[in-house]
């Protein structure tokens, strides 16, 4: 610690730190080492296994073939358009809910979260039912006979899938935009729209960019949506999966995965560069102004935002409705007679349901903790290996889930570890940790570094700064991160599909399996039960948290 180099702009109170660090050497250093070790074992090692799997021939095969060029161009197009639209929708939604005083905003705020809970197959299947060639919206409501399979369908599906992420990040940021600046602008006579565009928006640039880059990487690695709705429009992430499951060619799949990671790493470096410059501007906590009562928006904005939110919410609701209705129908869309037979089957799947909930819960806990610690080490300390940690924690977001699952299974074979549940927990933790990392670092970056300095000059050591200042101030962000990890963990398919074993079946995989076998009624009812369970647990959790907070206060 003493000989650690104090570079970077982290702190202005080096003397105090040096004086204290002597006796608190061990615990923080231990924690730091533990995090580095965990990240190395769970991220770097499996990826190394991916790197050494393909033979030279696989590389030559992939690079000498012209087939992949189209896929690469398609991927680029997909990435740019889906990201832009998702962020736009997510930001507008967040703005409408947080800043514009539209009616039912509390209910609207619930929908993106609800959507995050959708098990992946629900999205795909309900897309077919709603927007397919026989879709309820396209055919029954609009009377169209169109095929959305291909680029347009992919765009709709991905925007619906990823805008909640943008919403979550943007709403965190919007909540923390200092009202004093908006008030000042208003005092000078600026209109609400002008404030939104020239004050609020630039202040959120950090969050928006963060969301955009995160979504861009997620879009790159998304294979569920393109698989189902992209039709003849081929993208790289699907090719990775296809090579693996259709051709049983782990080598080529790994090569394509490696190609896919490169742009993600570039995006990631770009973001880091950009964020460094912006960070200081956005530190706002620690200089709070009491908000003035909001001025009413102009009627036009109000109406447009309301319709916008209602439209998106209705789409999300329609997806759920199709699943709910499907689980009570004898034969989806064909024999609409009411039945309970699918639900009677559910008790057979109790092991699957318990596993899904348990694993996702543990992973969400591990993911949130690991992400918070990593953010702390990277942004608030001068300990070594910052860059390494920063990159390792975020890189899984750039990998298609199935490739990372393959990486884990390769490494467990390599080490002769036969612990399917451990592998599943690691896969879930690692797959969704990048999001936790993003959201927590966004929250941390808004907590002024002067607060750290202040508490440290009052005698707190680094760990105390973390536990008594940073963590309590970022409770909201950590809770969002936990919810996200948990919900995605419950619903994930791609990252665990290669890891489930005889005693560790998962409900999400079972749903996919049932759907794939044409058992849509059962698949839908299992999805309904799983989603209800997930909701109830979260509800219970938030009630307990509320009671706990009241007691504390």
């Amino acid at each position: 610690m003493q000989n650690a180099k104090y570079e970077g702009a982290a702190s202005g109170s080096k003397l105090a730190e040096a004086a204290i660090s002597g006796n608190k050497f061990s615990s923080i250093k231990f924690l730091h080492l533990a995090v580095i070790f965990l990240v190395t074992a769970c991220v770097v090692f499996p990826l190394t296994c991916v790197l050494i799997t393909p033979r030279l021939k696989d590389f030559i095969d992939v690079f000498s073939s012209s087939v992949w060029r189209t896929a690469m161009l398609n991927t680029l197009l997909e990435c740019i358009s889906s990201t832009t639209l998702s962020v736009l929708v997510g930001y507008l939604f967040a703005y409408a809910v947080i800043k514009a005083d539209i009616p039912f905003k509390k209910i609207f705020a619930f929908f993106p979260i609800l959507h995050l809970m959708t098990p992946p197959f629900v999205g795909g299947l309900s897309f077919i039912l709603l927007f397919g060639r026989q879709g309820f919206i396209t055919k029954t409501l609009l009377g169209l006979d169109v095929s959305l399979y291909g680029f347009p369908g992919l765009l709709i599906a991905q925007v619906l899938c990823f805008f909640p992420i943008a919403y979550l990040i943007c709403s965190q940021v919007l909540k923390r935009v200092p009202p004093s600046l908006e008030q000042a602008a208003r005092a000078m006579g600026a209109s609400k729209a002008r404030i939104a565009l020239t004050v609020t928006l630039p202040l959120c640039a950090n969050g928006i960019l963060s969301a955009a880059l995160f979504i861009a990487v997620s879009v790159l690695s998304d294979f569920g949506n393109p698989m189902i709705v992209a039709g003849r429009f081929r993208v790289l992430a699907v090719e990775v999966y296809t090579q693996l499951t259709g051709w049983v060619s782990a080598g080529k799949s790994c090569v394509l995965g490696i190609i896919l990671v490169l742009p993600s790493v570039a995006l990631f470096i770009a973001q880091n560069h950009f964020m460094k410059k912006q960070e200081a501007k956005f530190a706002v906590v620690g200089s709070k102004a009491s908000p003035l009562p909001e001025k009413k928006s102009s009627v036009l904005t109000w109406v447009i935002l309301f319709i916008f939110c209602a439209f998106i919410s209705l789409l999300i609701l329609a997806q759920f409705a199709s699943i709910l209705i499907g689980s009570f129908q004898k034969l989806w869309g064909i024999n609409t007679a009411f039945t309970l037979e699918h639900f009677k089957m559910i008790k057979k799947f109790s092991l699957e349901l318990t596993n899904s909930i348990t694993f996702a819960f543990i992973s969400a806990l591990c993911g949130t903790i690991l992400a918070s610690l990593s953010v702390f080490f990277v942004n608030r300390t001068n300990l070594p290996c910052k860059k390494y940690l920063d990159i390792c924690v975020q890189i899984p977001a750039a990998l298609p889930g199935s490739l990372f699952g393959l990486a884990l299974s390769l490494s467990s074979t390599f080490l002769h570890i036969r612990a399917s549940s451990l592998m599943i927990v690691i896969a879930m933790t690692v797959a969704f940790m990048p999001f936790s990392y993003r959201i927590i670092s966004t929250v941390f970056s808004q907590i002024k570094i002067t607060l750290d300095d202040a508490s440290r000059s009052l005698g707190a050591d680094k760990i105390q700064v973390l536990t008594t200042v940073l963590l309590p101030l970022s409770k909201g962000g950590m809770f969002s991160s936990f919810i996200y990890d948990f919900v995605r963990g419950v619903g994930t398919i791609s990252s665990v599909i290669f890891l489930v074993s005889f005693k560790t079946p998962l409900a999400s995989i079972k749903i996919l399996n049932l759907a794939e076998q044409g058992e849509w009624g059962k698949a839908a009812s299992l999805a309904t039960v799983l989603t209800t369970l997930t909701f109830s647990i979260l509800l219970l959790g938030s009630i307990i948290l509320k009671i706990w907070r009241k007691k504390e206060a």
Partner: protein
């Protein structure tokens, strides 16, 4: 902070404890199953009743399980791989993952259903056919005769209404391509394929997708395994299965893992799968045609007499796969 550390440790221990729970029970037979979930359940239950050997199974898609079989070949988790077209078992065999076992019941089987080195044995016949969603067809092509042969599908009227599995992603799709190339010869075969693909609206990656898309009325015409179409038909979907002349067949296979510690039980399982009782049970679920000549296929499945097969050359299909698919990718779309 202490809380956090305690939480981390607790979480890790919890997951480790869970992991510890799944010690391998050597008494139990472990099956990787590619066939239908309910079917696997019924079969394994019957097997346990008959032999007293407990079974646990894991059901997943072909590529996934074959992949596992290959990566785990030195220390297999499963004892038996149940299901999957012969090409996949050949692939696993080439990697040295399969054990040879000539079941006494395999003597009665047609020669195409048994591997030369006895590593895999077919247990039901799969044949390609044409599926029609009658409602959509009647609406789109009123008065047009329903296609009865492969050649009927190239009618330009069908543009955008045919769904065909992507041959570079699925063995079903590739089987279809080889069907045409071997039926018509190389040159005419390609002419046919290029004419047909102009009519194709979508190339899904999964072999089971066309039947599903027909069932929901997304397309009027599709190419799929006949038994899948027959099953959808029996379930109440408006899907009519058609067995065109000069089709090809493949077999769903069962095989034993090379380094299994449960060889005796695994052999019993293979014998069981080929038995008349198991074969008839299977047919009830999947509408496939049993490979054992003594077993009767379920009502509603396509009788073997209605199926006209060409003499399909598996070796040729597998040796020219890369070349054919390369040409496919370059000339289609």
């Amino acid at each position: 902070m202490k809380k956090t550390i305690i939480l981390i440790t607790a979480a890790l221990f919890a997951s480790l404890a869970l992991a510890g729970c799944q010690k391998k029970n050597t008494q139990e037979l472990r099956v990787y199953s590619i066939i239908h979930d309910e079917e696997t359940e019924a079969l394994t239950k019957l097997f346990t009743e008959k032999t007293g050997i407990p079974v646990s199974y894991l059901r997943a898609t072909t590529g996934e399980l074959v992949n596992r079989v290959i990566t785990e070949k030195n220390d297999p988790l499963a004892d038996v791989l149940l299901g999957g077209a012969s090409s996949y078992h050949i692939q696993a065999d080439k990697e040295g993952a399969l054990e040879s076992y000539a079941s006494p019941l395999a003597k009665n089987l047609p020669s195409y259903a048994v591997a030369q080195d006895n590593t895999w044995t077919g247990f039901c016949v799969l044949t390609l056919g044409i599926g029609i969603n009658e409602a959509r067809y009647a609406e789109k092509f009123p008065g047009l005769k329903i296609p009865a042969s492969w050649d009927d599908l190239t009618n330009p009227a069908f543009k955008g209404e045919i769904v065909l599995t992507n041959p570079s992603a699925s063995s079903t799709g590739y089987l279809f391509v080889q069907n045409q190339l071997q039926r018509l010869g190389k040159e005419k075969g390609w002419d046919y394929l290029l004419a047909l693909t102009k009519n194709v609206g979508q190339f899904p990656d999964s072999g089971s997708a066309p039947a599903k898309l027909l069932g929901t009325g997304e397309y009027a015409i599709g190419v799929s395994y006949l038994h899948a179409l027959a099953k959808y038909n029996a379930q109440g979907f408006n899907v009519r299965p058609i067995a065109p002349p000069k089709s090809v067949g493949d077999v769903d296979c069962v095989s034993i893992m090379k380094n299994t510690k449960n060889l005796a039980a695994a052999k019993k399982f293979v014998d069981f799968i080929l038995s008349v009782e198991a074969q008839e049970l299977m047919s009830q679920f999947t509408f496939t045609t049993p490979v054992n000549p003594q077993a009767k296929a379920v009502k509603g499945s396509i009788p073997i007499a209605d199926i006209d097969l060409i003499n399909y050359d598996v070796q040729k299909a597998s040796s020219e796969k890369a070349e054919v698919l390369d040409k496919w990718v370059k000339s289609v779309k």
